[in-house]
């Protein structure tokens, strides 16, 4: 029972960042019909930016997180303007190939710039866990959970309350009608890709200090982001949130009770199972409106 609680807490912390990743990816797919293969690289980019700001420039840790997220937003906007804008009329497979090319460039540029050795990001939190009854958790992880939750909430409010959010939701539902009603789809796409990228970079910035920062960290995470999004149904925002927590729990519990070695494999097996049995994901397409 105690162990169960501990796994529940760990799963929630993991799930929060996974949800950030998943929402960014599914938002981009829902609005732009782009399968974003650079998502994992933007995650790694966020982590490296945090490292650069904190360790190399001596910027305050919290400020560095914000700056890294903004850097992710900027990189996302640049990718959209340089590559995706030209591919608006292309078929989905060509766009995927271009995004794979872009992720190849980003990952190796990162490797080139930072070298293959993993980096540690210093953080201001105590190294000893907080013990709450049967459960112990590192303060840094609690902070990560808090910020993830705040970002998720902020994102939902943005989508619900702001004009940009309304334009995004309209494009999400029907790009042609949205364009007819005066939504400037081009800019909605740029904003969408930038925000989605920013969320990925934020996830990287948050988890970078928890784990280590390495150029290949984006690989597995990029695939996990796909897993999350597929679990929830490609293009479903509530689905991605649920999928993020679902994957967090599955990994935590399967890792804890079944097999540590295969911890990461469960997510992928889950995708194959979900796609084989329920191809539209756990949240069906009809309800996939932000």
């Amino acid at each position: 029972m105690d162990q169960l609680l501990q796994h529940l807490v760990n799963g929630t912390v993991l799930g929060g960042t996974y949800a950030l990743l998943g929402i960014g990816l599914t938002l981009i797919f829902g609005v732009m019909r782009v399968v974003n293969f650079t998502h994992g690289e933007l995650y790694a980019f966020g982590a490296y930016m945090t490292y650069a700001f904190v360790s190399l420039l001596g910027v305050n840790f919290y400020l560095a997180l914000a700056l890294a997220t903004l850097a992710g937003v900027a990189l996302g906007a640049a990718l959209e303007l340089v590559l995706l804008r030209r591919m608006r009329r292309a078929d989905i497979d060509s766009v995927m190939l271009v995004m794979i090319g872009a992720s190849l460039v980003l990952q190796n540029a990162e490797m080139w710039a930072w070298g293959g050795v993993a980096k540690l990001i210093p953080n201001p939190f105590a190294g000893s866990p907080l013990v709450l009854g049967p459960v112990s958790v590192l303060p840094l992880r609690l902070f990560v959970l808090g910020v993830s939750a705040a970002l998720l909430l902020g994102f939902w409010l943005m989508l619900d309350r702001t004009r940009a959010g309304v334009a995004m939701r309209a494009t999400f539902q029907d790009p042609e009608t949205a364009a007819l009603m005066g939504v400037r789809v081009g800019w909605v796409n740029t904003a969408t890709f930038a925000i989605g990228s920013g969320l990925a970079a934020a996830a990287g910035a948050l988890l970078g200090p928890v784990f280590m920062v390495s150029p290949t960290m984006g690989d597995l995470v990029g695939l996990k982001a796909f897993a999350i999004v597929i679990l929830g149904g490609l293009g479903s925002l509530p689905g991605a949130t649920l999928g993020g927590f679902a994957l967090g729990f599955v990994e935590e519990f399967a890792g804890g009770y079944l097999s540590t070695e295969y911890r990461d494999a469960f997510g992928f097996l889950l995708i194959i199972l979900v796609l084989a049995l329920k191809p539209q994901g756990l949240v069906p397409a009809k309800e996939r409106i932000g």
Binding site: V35, I100, L104, I271, L275
Partner: protein, 327 residues
């Protein structure tokens, strides 16, 4: 292309080790050749059926592991106190086993994955390769995990007058890869130029119409997946016995991407596309070696992929063909 020219090309390649017995050149061409076989097989799915299958390295890796394990033998527990034991087998049996196992997984993945299309299909195929990599990393009793399978014996052949000879030399391996590549090319050609190939192209071109004239979608896609996977498995087997070491990294996504780049730049859906693209991208890394960081090579690959998809989406071979005046 006239009928004679391809055979002259093959003859020139076959004579190369005699004319230039440079071991480095032969080593580069041999490993390029193994990837070209992979690209030829991928082209059947990517080019002729139009399905963007991004888990292709799974079949390559399955072939490599199957062949290596058959040659080394294994002894594993499967629970309930039962064990499966295999004594070391000749390499050619491993080669056949590689084709059968990879083809079998091709069938399985085909049945599962062709029920969904587009982005879902792509992601399923990627995940498939990723799961296999995790298995290779963690099923240590069978695969040695990250410690890799080592001391894999080379291929051996019965040669007239010499009996069974192990292929240790660079030239011998080069010829073997060349021979398999020619066979793979011919198999794909026979398939695409037949009734089956026409059905595949019809599905790619207009699926609704194809169904309406009675072409069974899944049936033909699965056939293509099995052939494609089988050839990729053969390439994996060649790799295992040539490099003689197999580790879980044979399942890395980057190798799929390499094969995809070869097919796209050369010209997907053309017989010569993967050969041309494969020669270019199989040789570039070695030409650059020592002159640029390995990361620079991958950055260049990424840029090439973006530029080709955006500006020459049909690839080099069709572009060259359209330059020639039609009779």
């Amino acid at each position: 292309m006239s009928k004679l020219l391809p055979w002259l090309f093959v003859a020139a390649l076959a004579l190369l080790p005699v004319a230039f017995p440079d071991p480095y050149l032969l080593a580069v061409l041999t490993s390029a050749g193994i990837f070209i076989i992979g690209a030829i097989s991928l082209n059947l799915l990517l080019g002729y059926t139009g399905q963007l299958s991004l888990g292709h390295v799974a079949f390559f890796g399955l072939g490599a592991y199957t062949s290596a394990l058959a040659a080394l033998g294994f002894d594993i527990g499967i629970g309930f106190g039962l064990r499966i034991t295999l004594a070391p087998q000749p390499a050619w049996l491993g080669f056949i086993a590689a084709i059968v196992v990879a083809g079998g997984f091709g069938w399985l993945l085909g049945r599962l994955a062709f029920r969904v299309r587009g982005a879902y299909f792509v992601i399923i195929t990627i995940c498939f390769a990723q799961v296999l990599r995790m298995v290779a990393l963690n099923w240590i009793e069978l695969t040695q995990g990250p410690m890799a399978l080592i001391s894999i014996p080379p291929f051996s052949l019965w040669l007239p007058g010499q009996g069974v000879v192990a292929l240790y030399s660079k030239a011998q391996n080069y010829w073997l890869v060349l021979a398999v590549a020619v066979v793979a090319f011919l198999v794909v050609r026979q398939v695409v130029e037949s009734r089956i190939g026409r059905a595949l192209v019809a599905l790619r071109s207009n699926e609704s119409l194809a169904r309406s004239v009675g072409i069974r979608v899944t049936h033909y896609l699965v056939i293509a997946a099995v052939i494609s996977a089988g050839i990729a498995g053969a390439a994996g087997s060649l790799f295992a016995h040539y490099v003689r070491i197999v580790d879980p990294d044979v399942f890395l996504f980057i190798y799929t991407v390499t094969m995809v780049i070869m097919v796209i730049t050369g010209g997907k859906g053309t017989l010569w596309g993967p050969v041309v693209g494969g020669l270019i991208f199989g040789l570039i890394p070695d030409l650059l070696r020592g002159h640029a960081a390995p990361e620079a090579q991958w950055v260049a690959y990424g840029v090439a992929m973006i530029l080709f998809v955006m500006f020459l989406p049909r690839g080099i071979v069709p572009a060259l063909a359209s330059l020639r005046p039609r009779p």
